[in-house]
């Protein structure tokens, strides 16, 4: 061996330089074009349509019209009222459960965790269905006690929304509670602070931003949700149902666009405040914190455990009753078991279910590839470009599904551009789902990319790797766990989402969650329950598969620090 260049040390040929630049260009350009075409452009169309008047001219006539209508103000008032009530209760209950899970010592936490994972498995209208089986006109409670309860309207919707949003509040608040450092509590203890003082002086102030963040998420989820409002809202109209009735009921697209823009204002504001809160939260986290390990304290733990089990049981019962009802002969008169409700012929039978699986797979695979490319590209892009791309990439989470769906129908159901060809195809539904959930996937991907040590890429570069090779040999192994999460996240959300796709389904091309709504509309509540059960089975299986994949990866993990 010598220092002189030998055969294998000859520098690799110069063409790689251009290949690298092309690689960055492509990996950045394709996802960016996607974002512009399938997110920014349709939103611009919504805005444009909202200021297009009946005679074709531009103006604020639609706004004036909407603002002058009683229906709009009623729906807005209802949405805000509902949003605030749901938020207040969900945050209160959510804090109790999160605190019980992370700061109290008792057995059976896994049951609580399982119960709060349930709502993620089903479309948001399942809470509504469950409540109808329990408290509706033909519900168990009315049958047993004959109270003449009417669950449709404010109270039914409030309960449904709380049960749907509560798990998300628990997760966000729980995340902030796990961050704090046990040593601060030890210090307080040594200084003589009683447990209640420690809670008031340390726990609460530290959870402040997490609670704020959770509040904004719950508020947004509630005012933008369509499923439960459609199933159990009754005459209690909210903005989401108002858009639906303007567009689908009265074919009044421009008015729908105006209501959409109105719905966008509070969600965008709430989204950005939430992100600010999140940044503050993570800014206060110490790098080498010692995790807090609770010891059993009866006075604190027994009431907390009881409250948590009660709430978790209610969340679970509302969903389990749907599964149970799907097997009952004639709710609530004949509780004999049957599978006849699974013989669904109306509303396309099981075809929409298969379509939904196909769409969800397409959204998951395509979305994962796109986000991998975007992650690669954004790292190598000049700062200014990276910032701009980042800005657009995190925007979709601020846009309610109803508005995205409306934007798509306005954009793709218009013969003005060749994009019309996509209308009514499964492809467009998959694309819509991907961009609807783009932000969450993107942020997960960025977390993965941030874990790749730059020294590793540099080492590979010095050994002669091109960027393509670095992407495959160095980056991919690090981000694989995140890509798997993104894949399953996109799949599971696509399986259950309703709000965006409701506008895009046609008689020939429809999805499972819409079918449930149609079955329920037709009074076939038991069949709707059966259909919901099928979706929950598939999504539950996907969740199990994801856990299994991570379990296997953990066992033979070569990436000691990852996952």
């Amino acid at each position: 061996m010598s220092a002189e260049p030998s055969a294998i040390t000859t520098p690799l040929s110069n063409k790689h330089f251009d290949v690298d630049r092309a690689f960055v260009m492509i990996s950045l350009t394709i996802p960016v074009i996607g974002l512009l075409l399938f997110f920014v452009y349709p939103l611009a169309i919504v805005f444009l349509r909202s200021i297009t008047e009946a005679d074709g001219g531009l103006g604020l006539g639609n706004y004036a019209h909407v603002l002058a209508s009683k229906g709009f103000w009623r729906a807005t008032g209802h949405s805000l009222h509902m949003g605030l009530a749901t938020t207040a209760i969900s945050i209160g209950l959510g804090f109790v459960i999160a605190h019980a899970l992370h700061r109290c010592a008792f057995r059976g936490k896994v049951l609580i965790r399982a119960a709060i994972a349930l709502p993620l498995l089903a479309p948001s209208l399942v809470q509504g269905l469950g409540l109808i089986f329990l408290l509706g006109r033909n519900g168990l409670v009315n049958k047993w006690f004959d109270l003449g309860l009417d669950i449709y309207g404010f109270w039914g919707l409030l309960i449904a929304n709380i049960f749907y949003a509560l798990p998300q509040a628990v997760m966000i608040i729980g995340a902030t509670l796990t961050l704090s450092d046990a040593r601060t509590y030890e210090a307080a203890e040594v200084m003589g602070a009683r447990p209640i003082r420690q809670f008031l002086d340390i726990t609460l102030p530290n959870a402040k931003f997490g609670v704020l963040s959770a509040a904004f998420v719950v508020f947004t989820v509630t005012i933008t949700d369509f499923g439960n409002a459609a199933v159990i809202g009754g005459d209690y109209s909210v903005l989401a149902t108002e858009i639906y009735s303007q567009v689908i009921g009265q074919m009044n697209f421009n008015m729908g666009a105006v209501v959409g823009i109105m719905l966008l204002l509070p969600t965008v504001a709430s989204y950005y405040i939430e992100r600010l809160a999140q940044k503050r939260q993570f800014g206060s986290h110490a790098e080498n914190a010692v995790p807090f390990v609770p010891t059993f304290t009866p006075a604190r733990d027994l009431p907390m455990a009881a409250a948590s089990f009660l709430i978790a049981a209610l969340i679970a019962i509302v969903i389990v009753v749907v599964v149970y009802a799907s097997f009952v002969k004639l709710w609530p008169y004949n509780f004999g078991m049957t599978v006849k409700h699974y013989d669904i012929t109306l509303a396309g039978g099981y075809a929409p279910l298969w379509t939904t699986i196909y769409i969800s797979l397409a959204a998951a695979i395509g979305g994962t590839v796109m986000l991998f490319l975007l992650g690669l590209g954004i790292r190598k892009a000049p700062d200014a470009i990276a910032k701009a791309v980042y800005f657009f990439s995190v925007m979709p989470a601020a846009v309610p599904g109803m508005v995205i769906g409306l934007a798509y129908v306005l954009t793709f159901n218009s013969t003005a551009t060749p994009l019309y060809l996509l209308y009514g195809t499964a492809t467009l539904l998959a694309v819509c789902n991907f961009y609807h959930y783009h932000t969450q996937g993107f942020l997960t991907a960025m977390t993965g990319f941030r874990q790749v040590p730059s020294a590793l890429e540099e080492a590979a570069s010095c050994l002669g790797s091109s960027m393509t090779r670095i992407a495959i040999d160095v980056v991919a192994p690090y981000v694989t766990p995140m890509l798997i999460s993104i894949f399953f996240f996109l799949f599971m959300r696509s399986m259950v989402t309703l709000s965006a796709v409701i506008f895009l389904t046609t008689p020939k091309m429809t999805v499972a969650s819409v079918t449930i709504m149609r079955l329920d509309d037709a009074g076939l509540t038991s069949q709707a329950a059966a259909y919901s059960t099928c979706i929950m089975l598939i999504v539950g299986a996907a969740l199990m598969m994801m856990k299994y994949v991570f379990y296997r990866m953990d066992k033979r993990s070569t990436l000691g620090t990852v996952v």
Partner: protein, 338 residues
């Protein structure tokens, strides 16, 4: 010069990370870039590697300008402080990675891996993953990975800093032996002067983005030219010109011409002899026993001295002494006060 770096400048905003730096490495030489953190040594190494762009200047290898050549085409080997082994690859795959990229035949790669594992004295770890190795073992593998491709230049970025003292000592010797036997021109960044003194053929001492002094370890230790180098390369006693003229005139012999403030005399602690003397101008303030040597803290009218002796000498704390310095043991350094 094999590697020739000319007038390199790198700025971050108004901050000069490198200010017109010129250095060179001969074809079989082991050169250490030594300096405190933030002195620009790592930036210099990264620019030579092609991992960072400079704002101006040249990097030439055998006359070829490397400025526009991306890192992967330079054919260099690099070892980082953080080991930076690919966590998803086995030890063998890590070492063979550079060869695989170059399209070397599988059998040849295998042979090279086996031979290198022998060289780094880890013949049995080929199928293990990095996380199954200790820090020292990982760094050996990283070294093998870097030299597997017969690099034109070996770059070591603080390769020993993350290791504990004992492993560091062993690996230091191994790196030195390996470099000598392979004759690979090597540039190592370190902030540890002892490491630089034992490893390097030549040390380039840097401060504030500039080269302070370049020379053999003996040069830098015994004949520092700037006050910074004198301080950084171990303990130094600095004596003002005015006092030297008054009390130690013999030392003025090799003083460069210049105002009193321009240069200052620098004497290493072991080059001062102290002798008990009731009429001496100095006083012993403290004595520390350091095993193989004794350290004396001595005050004299113009300040304080550190003196080290091997073995015991007959003085005690509080005693009056005089001190002697041979003219050839005194080097005059730019005081930096000007």
């Amino acid at each position: 010069m094999y590697l020739n770096v000319q007038n390199l400048t790198k700025t971050y905003g108004n901050f000069y990370a490198l200010d017109n730096v010129s250095i060179g490495v001969e074809s079989h030489e082991f050169v250490c870039l030594l300096g405190p953190s933030g002195c620009g040594k790592t930036t210099l190494l990264r620019i030579i590697a092609g991992l960072t762009q400079s704002n101006g200047g040249e990097v030439r290898l055998l006359g070829e300008n490397l400025v526009n050549l991306p890192a992967r085409q330079r054919g260099f080997g690099i070892v980082f402080q953080s080991y930076s082994l690919f966590p998803n690859m086995t030890v063998a795959e890590n070492i063979g990675y550079g060869l695989k990229i170059r399209g070397v035949l599988k059998a040849d790669i295998q042979a090279r891996i086996t031979s290198l594992l022998g060289t780094i004295k880890l013949p049995d770890v080929a199928e293990r993953y990095p996380w199954q190795l200790s820090g020292g073992q990982q760094q050996r593998v990283a070294l093998a990975r870097a030299i597997a491709v017969d690099p034109r230049l070996l770059l070591l970025d603080e390769p020993l800093s993350a290791l504990d003292a004992k492993v560091r000592g062993e690996l230091r010797t191994e790196i030195r032996d390996l470099q000598r036997s392979l004759g690979i021109p090597t540039l190592m960044v370190t902030h540890d002067q002892e490491e630089a003194l034992t490893l390097a053929d030549r040390i380039i001492c840097m401060n504030h983005g500039r080269v302070e002094q370049s020379g053999t370890p003996e040069d830098l230790y015994l004949r520092p030219t700037t006050r910074f180098v004198a301080d950084f390369m171990g303990v130094s006693n600095l004596i003002e010109t005015r006092y030297v003229r008054e009390c130690l005139p013999a030392l003025l012999e090799n003083r460069p011409a210049g105002e009193d403030d321009a240069y200052i005399a620098c004497i290493r602690p072991e080059q001062i002899t102290i002798i008990a003397d009731e009429n001496g101008k100095a006083t012993v303030r403290a004595i520390s026993f350091l095993g193989n040597l004794n350290r004396f803290e001595v005050t004299y009218p113009a300040g304080r001295l550190i003196v080290e002796t091997h073995g015991h000498i007959n003085v005690s704390e509080g005693q009056r002494v005089r001190f002697e310095i041979r003219p050839e043991d005194c080097s005059w350094v730019v005081s930096g006060a000007v």
